[in-house]
């Protein structure tokens, strides 16, 4: 068994719902959680005689994602019908794109999986991001939902039918669950940055279908295990776990059966979230014949240079690039930079605060340690807390000057969100201005020393107890000043006393 190695090969299909005002081919509003079958019209119901009309906004959103994924955007693309019978698909064909997708041959940079907690040379991490090939991205219409209700009947909700759906297919460049997750997270960040999707997985706005197999080297020979496609995953966790599970399962299966990849032995499995296992859905890829042919009801789309330029103009700096820049420009850790660039609103807010004079690291601390927590509690963005970038910059300045402690700054931040008042005003109102006057503090230190002879003795005796006793004395002074003393100044005075 000495010569036995395996390499994991994963490719990912990702479906992203685009948050356009109306559906892909009709005027119905794109909606979630509405009463069943309330967001439908003859077109998305597939009534006799109806015709689709392309939603230009959806097309532009899709092109924008294509550009962000460094894809080639052909000037000519068309629509095709993909035929299959299912009750959630009223026409029994889906309007999709077959041989001429609107974007192809691109790539996405993903942060190294699991590398974000690496200590020390954080800066190097982003630079080591991995490039994953994107085969294609195309637009199609989403299907409805079959609701399996009790008894002999199933019901169908067609509100989702016709929602613009962008399908992105990666090259099999991923080495496992962690990388697949990193790609998914990065893509979610990108579509949110571009404002083309909320990427909310709970609402099914992002769905994943990994294709997984292994290349096993055994006794100098190479074997490929049969490809498994795991269907319809709708969380990062399920994506990562299902891949990791599959890797182990395929290894075990190979050792047990020696089964290798052949034409037609690809299988489809589902993910059981509770038991955390994949479950066989379709033995062998049934001879799926979607009978694609060009959609005669729609004209092909000719994307002129001017139109493409106009769409390109809506691109923004992408999250990973921004993250790398934060490390370089603001000397933040890769971890902090990653947190700040998680949402475009947070990053924009951070940059505004820095632009109005806030010291980057301190602004970063305020946002990552207080702002984001607060925003999370309120279910909004940092930029929606009612706190201006200017006041966060001011608050960071106060911390830098030692006017307020880090703890006090957190309290002030919360009060700012509450009242919208200026930080300095709040610091006064809440008596949170730090005492840094050495003369005043020295008298207090003297009082504390006099009142705690045992501690003084412990300090002077040195050793283990000494450090603890210093902490105790510092705490006593802080208590006496109701926390308003600058602990740094107090420590210095105490140190001087024991010179």
């Amino acid at each position: 068994m000495s010569d036995f190695q395996h390499k994991v090969i994963v490719g990912l299909e990702i479906h992203v719902q685009l948050c356009t005002r109306s559906k892909m081919f009709c005027g119905c509003a794109v909606a979630f959680g509405e009463q069943a079958n309330s967001r439908v019209c003859p077109v998305c119901l597939g009534m006799p005689g109806v015709l689709p009309v392309m939603n230009k906004q959806a097309f532009e959103y899709a092109v924008l994602v294509g550009l962000a994924l460094n894809c080639e955007i052909p000037s000519f693309t068309k629509w095709d019908r993909k035929s299959y019978y299912y009750p959630d698909l009223p026409k029994n064909y889906q309007i999709s794109q077959y041989d001429l997708p609107l974007a192809k041959d691109g790539f996405i940079q993903i942060p190294p999986a699991g590398g974000k907690k690496a200590k020390g040379k954080d800066e190097a991490d982003s630079a080591q991001s991995k490039r994953i090939g994107i085969i294609r991205a195309h637009l199609e219409e989403d299907a409805g939902k079959n609701l399996h209700t009790a008894g002999n009947f199933s019901s169908v909700d067609l509100n989702r039918t016709g929602t613009p759906l962008l399908e992105i297919v990666s090259e099999p460049d991923l080495s496992g669950g962690a990388e697949a997750r990193a790609l998914a997270v990065e893509l979610q960040r990108i579509v949110r940055y571009l404002g083309v999707s909320e990427g909310d997985m709970q609402k099914g706005q992002m769905r994943f279908e990994p294709n997984i197999n292994l290349v096993i080297t055994k006794d100098g020979k190479e074997f490929k295990t049969p490809i498994v496609e795991v269907k319809n995953l709708n969380s990062f966790r399920a994506l990562e776990r299902s891949i990791d599970y599959e890797v182990q399962r395929q290894l075990d299966e190979f050792l047990e059966t020696g089964l290798v990849l052949e034409m037609g032995n690809k299988t489809t499995r589902g993910w059981d979230d509770e038991r955390e296992v994949t479950v066989l859905q379709r033995e062998k890829e049934e001879a799926h014949d979607y009978r694609y042919f060009p959609e005669p009801d729609l004209v092909p789309v000719e994307l002129t240079d001017a139109w493409l330029d106009e769409i390109r103009g809506r691109l923004c700096e992408l999250p990973l690039a921004r993250q790398v820049r934060y490390v370089e420009e603001y000397k933040l850790s890769d971890y902090d930079a990653g947190v700040l660039t998680g949402e475009r609103g947070t990053a924009d807010f951070f940059e505004s605060a820095v632009a109005t004079g806030g010291e980057p690291k301190r602004v970063c601390n305020l946002l990552t340690q207080v702002g984001l927590k607060l925003a999370n509690e309120k279910g909004c963005g940092v930029d929606e807390l009612g706190v201006t970038a200017q006041s966060v910059a001011d608050l960071a300045g106060m911390v830098a000057l030692g006017d307020v402690s880090a703890g006090a700054a957190a309290a002030i931040f919360e009060a700012m969100a509450e009242t919208g008042k200026e930080p300095r005003l709040l610091a006064d109102e809440l008596s949170l201005i730090q005492k840094s006057d050495a003369g005043e503090l020295e008298a207090m230190v003297d009082e504390v020393l006099a009142a705690n002879p045992q501690a003084v003795k412990d300090v002077t005796s040195g050793g283990k107890k000494s450090k603890k006793a210093r902490g105790f004395l510092l705490g006593q002074v802080m208590q006496k000043t109701k926390g308003q003393a600058n602990p740094k100044v107090v420590s210095e005075i105490i140190a001087r006393k024991f010179g």
Binding site: M47, P48, D297
Partner: protein, 487 residues
């Protein structure tokens, strides 16, 4: 009043000389009398039609502006969606289907103040050339009730010929307006693909289907075009008016086309019955006498047209008809045990034989491994046929040929021989493949006194010229005034 054309009737109604209620009432009187024999309609709307007629009369009496078809009783083929009545496509699968919306052409007719008297019979889903494939009713030819009216718009053609309405709409995928017009001795125009909105026309072959008028006269066809032509934002394949502006088709209708060059394709014409050829030649002589030049043109790829047509049309149909599955609307089998059986049994029970045949042909043509050999090749043929026409129209203004190789045939004569039936479309399908407009006008009778149509084809969006050329013939003859025996 029965003698009047739609245009003349409209003028008299607008002038207050006849009321629409009188005209509509008279139409229903004739329906009561003749419809039991002809069987043109799948549904009629006597009360709503008369109420609408009364409303038009009231508005005219009040001096209000009224539309181009004010008070004129018209009919529509039952594959155009209407919020009134059912929209059945003459299929049992849609027998009780009520559309929640109006087709664009229906909206346009209503906006022009037309009075819609009923919806006409057809071959199921417009698949056929005799209306015998209707799943719901038999229609006969008003000129000889033992014969077919043609198809698939046989009901519309029979209704106009039988004077059961003043004008009607049909749809033409491979000749379904022109051929029944020819068989019934009326005028039938298939406009350029994209000229009339297809929104609300139940699709058969989406890239071929086009709605057009069936009328007593060329003038009425022009009048109907004035109402229904134009861009529709709901139909992406309808042509932008900046590219091809619609015009007033009545405005210059009576002006003969000067220096008219008529293209003929001798090798094609020889396939038609002798009587048909004779009528064609006589018609061309009328044009010659009016100063037209005759040029021979070549259609090198016409032999492949039928093959290409039946692949493209059935391929599109197999996909278009997939939605009739018993799940969301239409017939649902009560014998189904699971959802797959809901599909298979509902469709097996309610589709007719010809529809099933075409669905299977189309499904086969699109199947993986066959796509390139059939569908893709058919598209290539289609392009070659388009090119044949483009080249031909460099030499002539229009091309004249028969509409069909025969006059109306006997009921039941060809039902068991689908291939012969398909071959009877030989003269009409090229226009659908090329997307160009074509018209059928009455040009004579055979030895059985059955009408014969003259087909005139013109370049894309040249309907105005096409109508003027047709009008030149009509002005020289009185064939359009001949009435079938039943009338």
């Amino acid at each position: 009043m029965e003698e009047l054309s739609a245009k003349d009737l409209r003028e008299r109604i607008a002038a207050g000389r006849i009321t629409s209620v009188e005209a509509t009432g008279a139409v229903f009187g004739r329906i009561d009398e003749r419809e039991p024999v002809i069987g043109a309609y799948l549904s009629t709307y006597r009360e709503t039609a008369l109420a609408r007629a009364a409303e038009v009369d009231r508005r005219i009496a009040a001096g209000e502006q009224v539309g181009q078809l004010a008070g004129v009783p018209v009919a529509i083929k039952d594959n155009m969606c209407s919020m009134f009545g059912a929209t059945t496509c003459a299929s049992r699968i849609l027998e009780n289907f009520h559309s929640p919306y109006n087709a664009t052409v229906v909206k346009k007719l209503l906006a022009a103040d037309a009075v819609i008297v009923g919806k006409t019979n057809m071959d199921e889903f417009a698949m056929g050339s005799s209306t015998e494939n209707s799943g719901l009713k038999q229609t006969v030819n008003p000129w000889d009730t033992s014969r077919v009216p043609g198809g698939s718009s046989g009901g519309s053609a029979a209704a106009v010929a039988g004077r059961l309405c003043y004008a009607a709409l049909g749809s033409d995928t491979g000749g379904s307006i022109r051929q029944p017009a020819s068989f019934c001795g009326v005028v039938g125009l298939k406009p350029t693909y994209g000229r009339v909105s297809r929104y609300g026309l139940v699709a058969y072959g989406s890239s071929l289907d086009q709605i057009g008028p069936i009328t007593q006269t060329v003038t009425d066809a022009a009048l109907m075009m004035n109402v229904i032509a134009g861009h529709d934002p709901a139909d992406s394949t309808s042509v932008d008016e900046a590219v091809a502006p619609v015009c007033d088709y009545l405005a210059r209708l009576d002006e003969p086309v000067e220096n008219l060059r008529i293209g003929i394709v001798p090798q094609l014409n020889s396939g038609a019955d002798e009587s048909v050829q004779r009528a064609l030649n006589a018609a061309i002589d009328v044009y010659k006498a009016a100063g037209a030049d005759i040029v021979e043109v070549d259609m090198p790829h016409s032999d492949y047209a039928i093959g290409a047509y039946y692949i493209i049309a059935t391929a599109e149909a197999s996909s278009n008809l997939a939605r009739y599955d018993g799940v969301h609307y239409g017939h649902r089998s009560d014998k189904a045990e699971d959802y797959v059986e809901v599909y298979s049994k509902s469709r097996a029970e309610a589709f007719g034989k010809e529809v099933k045949r075409r669905i299977m042909l189309g499904t086969y043509a699109l199947s993986s491994g066959y796509y390139d050999a059939y569908y893709l090749k058919a598209l290539k043929v289609r392009n070659l046929i388009r090119r044949d026409f483009t080249e031909a129209f460099e030499k002539c203004d229009c091309i004249m040929m028969p509409v069909a190789p025969t006059t109306a045939f006997k009921l039941g004569e060809k039902v068991d021989d689908p291939l012969t039936m398909y071959l009877s479309d030989v003269y009409t399908i090229a226009a659908n493949l090329a997307g160009i407009p074509g018209i059928s006008i009455p040009c004579g009778f055979d030895e059985n006194n059955l009408p014969i149509g003259l087909q005139i084809l013109a370049p894309a969006f040249a309907e105005d010229k096409l109508l003027r050329i047709a009008k030149m013939f009509e002005a020289e003859t009185d064939l359009h005034r001949k009435k079938p025996t039943i009338v």
